[in-house]
């Protein structure tokens, strides 16, 4: 990490030199990291010179004497506060009265150093200021990143909803305009297709809600003792109609009992994702195997299919958000592209992970391991 830039503004050369000597070799541990940050010191002997320096190059921390020959330290502080920068000012003053303190704080000073001060006092104050600055910057960076991610999510979501909405709109117009005769077999087909698109949109929205709740930590988690097999049963039951319509069989192999502490809702989301994918991406007449295993402190869930599989390149992009593997074999399969990233985030809540092995046209096996806790 770059050194933090400090500007020392004092009309006494001894003070400037002393501060420079103390801070030059000084290192501060960056909060919540293993990194130390050092300081580069510049000097100014008047308020005018300080402002000229600050105009030319921004600094991180300003050590500012209150009593200066020309314009006062408080004037400089006022100028600094008006600049749209995140630098922090420490006032140095021989008269550490309540009035100067209040007055400087109002003008935006972060802290004080009362003259005379020891090298230790200087270091303590500068360290505190530096940590505050770095935390503040880190918080801002995270907020920016979050805003960016949210924006991306919204624009992709809008894009994903546009196509099915346009489809439903088109079908309804055909019915309204009598292009398709109401009550005819064609009309039933058109309505069926419209409902399919609406279902797709609903699933996308449910997935988005799951994802945002997991990410924001707003999702209330209820950890209770559960039998993992029951979640598997429920998911298999849910997927059975879709599986039956394509003659896909689903088999479960599990130990007599498999308990862990988990949120039943989260477990359901994970199993539903795994099992419905295994059906969706299977071939007609294919097989899905759900295998549960007790690994002592962990639970292993394997879901294997006999489906279209994925190439090594496709596997690499698989866990990204809104990534749907697009090829001739998947183009008729509906999905939000969020299922696996939800699965991965949920598994992480259980100190677990998701891995996948796949061979094109042979099948894929997804393996999830979860800590029993």
């Amino acid at each position: 990490m770059d050194n933090l830039k400090v500007l020392v503004v004092d009309d006494e050369p001894g003070i400037r030199l002393g501060i420079t000597r103390v801070l030059q070799p000084f290192l501060v541990r960056v909060p919540e990291s293993e990194i130390d940050v050092g300081f580069s010191i510049a000097q100014a002997e008047s308020g005018e010179e300080a402002i000229a320096h600050l105009r030319a190059q921004p600094v991180d921390i300003l050590l500012l004497d209150h009593k200066l020959p020309g314009i006062s330290g408080l004037d400089v502080l006022e100028w600094v506060a008006a600049e749209p920068r995140d630098w922090l000012t420490v006032m140095i003053t021989a008269y550490a009265t309540i009035e100067t303190a209040v007055s400087a704080t109002k003008r935006g000073a972060f802290d004080f150093l009362a003259k005379p001060f020891t090298p230790e006092e200087l270091k303590a104050t500068v360290a505190k200021t530096a940590r505050h600055l770095l935390l503040q910057r880190e918080a801002k960076r995270l907020a920016d990143e979050k805003r960016q991610v949210r924006f991306q999510l919204i624009s992709v979501l809008a894009h994903e909803l546009k196509a099915p909405l346009a489809a439903v709109e088109g079908y309804l117009q055909l019915l309204r305009d009598g292009v398709v005769a109401p009550g005819s077999p064609k009309a039933a087909e058109v309505l069926g297709r419209s409902l399919e698109r609406i279902e797709g949109m609903r699933k996308l929205i449910v997935d988005i809600l799951d994802l945002t709740r997991i990410e924001s930590g707003q999702k209330k988690r209820e950890l209770v003792e559960v039998d993992v097999r029951e979640a598997a049963f429920r998911a298999i039951e849910t997927a059975t109609p879709a599986a039956r319509s394509r003659q896909v069989t689903i088999e479960l192999s599990a130990p007599e009992r498999l308990g862990m502490r988990a949120d039943p809702g989260e477990l359901d989301i994970m199993f539903n994702n795994l099992v419905s994918n295994a059906v969706k991406y299977n071939r007609d007449g294919g097989r899905v195997e759900v295998r549960l295993a007790d690994l002592g402190d962990r639970v292993r869930i394997e879901v294997a299919d006999t489906g279209i599989g994925m190439s090594p390149e496709e596997l690499k992009q698989l866990f990204g958000e809104f990534v749907r593997i697009k090829n001739a074999k998947t183009r008729t399969i509906q999905g939000s592209g969020l299922g696996l990233s939800i699965l991965k985030k949920l598994a992480a809540l259980y100190g677990g992970d998701v891995s996948v092995e796949s061979t094109p046209d042979v099948g894929s096996t997804f393996t999830v391991t979860l800590q029993k806790q």
Partner: protein, 133 residues
């Protein structure tokens, strides 16, 4: 004298758009041949007879609409091709539909922006096939 209903090849990789186009054309008295991919369309170009083609420009390979239009023109340069595209809004490429040169470059007689209004499409079909009044 009654003429046989003109046959129209419709190619779009969006199954909903394809189905809606087919229903509209059939209701309008045309015979519709639908293809979901450029590959399927090429088979039809080789095996079936049709009077006009409506192709989506952007299918799974970015330029497959272009390729298809050229294949149709190679089969019979008199078959009109209507290119339907959302390119301007989706890829930021604009084809100047009014420019003869750009239409020829795209292999199309007419270029229409998505979403396509059916009345406009029928007007273009009638004009290209010299049908109607």
């Amino acid at each position: 004298m009654t003429r046989p209903a003109p046959t129209i090849l419709v190619v779009d990789d969006n199954p909903d758009f394809l189905e809606q186009m087919k229903l509209q054309l059939e209701a309008g008295g045309f015979v519709a041949l639908a293809a979901e991919s450029a590959a399927q369309a090429r088979e039809l170009v080789a095996s079936a007879e049709f009077d006009l083609a409506i192709c989506d420009l952007m299918m799974e390979h970015a330029d497959s609409g272009f390729g298809l239009a050229h294949a149709i023109k190679r089969k019979d340069p008199r078959i009109p091709v209507i290119m339907v595209t959302a390119v301007a809004s989706e890829a930021g490429i604009a084809i100047d539909a009014a420019s003869k040169g750009e239409r020829a470059w795209a292999g199309a007689d007419v270029i229409l922006d998505k979403p396509v209004r059916y009345e406009q499409l029928v007007r273009e079909i009638n004009r290209l096939l010299k049908l109607g009044a």
